[in-house]
Amino acid sequence: MAKLPKPEELSKIDLTPPKTDWMDTPVVFKEGMFCHGSKPKSLEIVGFPNPREWRPADADWKLPENWKEILLEGIADRLKKYRSFRLFMDICVRCGACADKCHFFIGTGDPKNMPVLRAELIRSVYRKEFTTAGKIFGRMAGARELTVDVLKEWWYYFYQCTECRRCSVFCPYGIDQAEITMIGRELLNLLGLNIEWIAGPVSNCYMKGNHLGLEPHTIVGNLEYMLDDIETVTGKRIKPTFNRKGAEILFVTPSGDLFADPGTYTAMGYMMLFEELGLDYTWSTYASEGGNFGFFTSNEMAKRLNSKIYAEAKRLGVKWILGGECGHMWRVLSQYMDTWNGPADFLEVPKSPITGTVFENAKSMKMVHVAEFTADLIKNNKLKLDPKRNDHLKVTWHDSCNVARGMGMLEEPRYVLKNVVNNFVEMPEDTIREKTFCCGSGTGLNASEDMDLRMKGGFPRANAVKFVADHYGVNMLANVCAIDRATLKALMEYWVPSVGVCGLHELVANALIMKGEKERTTDLRGEPLPGIEAKEEKA
């Protein structure tokens, strides 16, 4: 892992634009600002084109001879296939409303990270090849030739966009920059120009069912370890089931929660909640990944990886699917899964067996987000909660881009949070809800070799956290996204070290009073509960 500059150095952002016009300013690959190139093995496993050893900083990218033809055909295909793509290419008036809304622009000061200009990288080629004005007037009409340098510029900047869609909130035309980046990455993928932090998890998921490559017995082993910890904290031994046919509910969550802290505490939280409810559910070691890094390569790959969820639900004969805390997982599920792999007419419209609530919003996809599920439980007084157990925490809420902006889930997690903690503080209004700032590392950019980029991109989010930490003593940043749990931890350690990171259901499980549990003395992390030390001292 490359050494990072100190925060005081990284926060000196140079906003002086280059002296030359953007088309005449060549891309410079800066160490720490990009990820490693994809490995041939990862591409071969899923049948992606042009697998070979290559390095982004090398002059020769070992492109196929007809690379230009492949790309132009790729653009033409997508213009036919996606009406949105053509629309987004045509309608931008370059008003600049999006320019300063991107966390990567704010954190780097690089004009090509203005969403409008990032889109121009591809739009200029579109004009040259697909519009009459561009063909005749060339540069005067904002058109330019597709060259290897242009291709490199695409790669560098489409992997400096996290598809968070904050810019689209401010666009008067509603142009969705995420879709432009998605198309950009799809096109690059046609030439084998991926990053290994995406291609590796994709091939793992294809071969073993999850991004980490955890084998079935390893999934069980890791959860067993967490069950030991739950027993230590609560005195209760939980026995979840795996791949059980005839269960009412299939539970799917991101694999990150099965290995890495603080995600593991969230996974413990799910299991404690479901145990308390007596929920008839099963884990699957086949559909063992809620996330979908295929979504960051191509629509087709995302569809292939996603297909396991419905297939497993059908095989097990469950009634509906419950999903864990994740960000992009939910954009994929709520906006794509049903179209790709549905209709899931072998499933029933999800109905909570505890409250009887029918989740009409999931009528078609048949999958419910655990935050909605828990909010409904609390609303119907089905949980005994003691929020005082979280009194050592002052919590603020990070709206994960794909859940908040992507699917409009703004109130449910807040409702849960307010019932399980006593100290909740919102970050400034322009940095939350649909205007939330990205963690700076989504869409497969949370590798370890691009830390400069990640810390710069996460700067606006960290700055808002710092504000509530300084003014209100906030010490915990909660969220419902597995990538956030990993990336924000690194971001906080760098920018605001006094603030920790947790998932929502870790806090739920801390507050949850379970039947027959022993008196708790620690939280799920093994830290003493508030008041316990004082009690022990008195005794």
């Binding site: 590796g200 694999s255 997982m329 497969g444 949370n446 370890s448 990993a486 690194a490």
Partner: protein, 114 residues
């Protein structure tokens, strides 16, 4: 191929210093790997951590959940970073094969893909 000498044995490493043959590992090899990585002398606690990591890997084809290593040897839960800086270095000294890229970021920087 790079090699390292441990007493009278020649041990094969890959270009990034990972052990090529899992079965070449023993405590002496671990000490030599640790010295190359500036980890310092390996005490009894470190050796039992490494043995646990190897046993776990043999069964599960994966690195153990980091806190479970410490629990196993009854040490505080930051024991891995205290002894080895980060779990990736523990991986290397435990003589596990060259990890795939996602595992590197996972162990080196706590990053998980989804």
């Amino acid at each position: 191929m790079p090699v390292m000498q441990v007493n009278d044995r020649t041990i094969a490493l890959d270009d990034e210093g990972y052990l090529v043959n899992f079965q070449d590992w023993d405590e002496e090899v671990a000490c030599e790997l640790a010295a190359r990585l500036d980890v310092g002398k390996l005490g009894a606690e470190s050796i039992s951590m490494l043995k646990f990591i190897r046993d776990h890997y043999r069964v599960f084809n994966f690195f153990p959940i980091v806190n479970s290593i410490c629990r196993n040897i009854h040490a505080p839960k930051n024991c891995v970073s205290e002894k080895f800086f980060n779990p990736l270095i523990a991986w290397k000294i435990a003589g596990l094969p060259h990890p795939e890229e996602p595992i590197i970021s996972l162990l080196e920087a706590g990053q998980s893909p989804g």
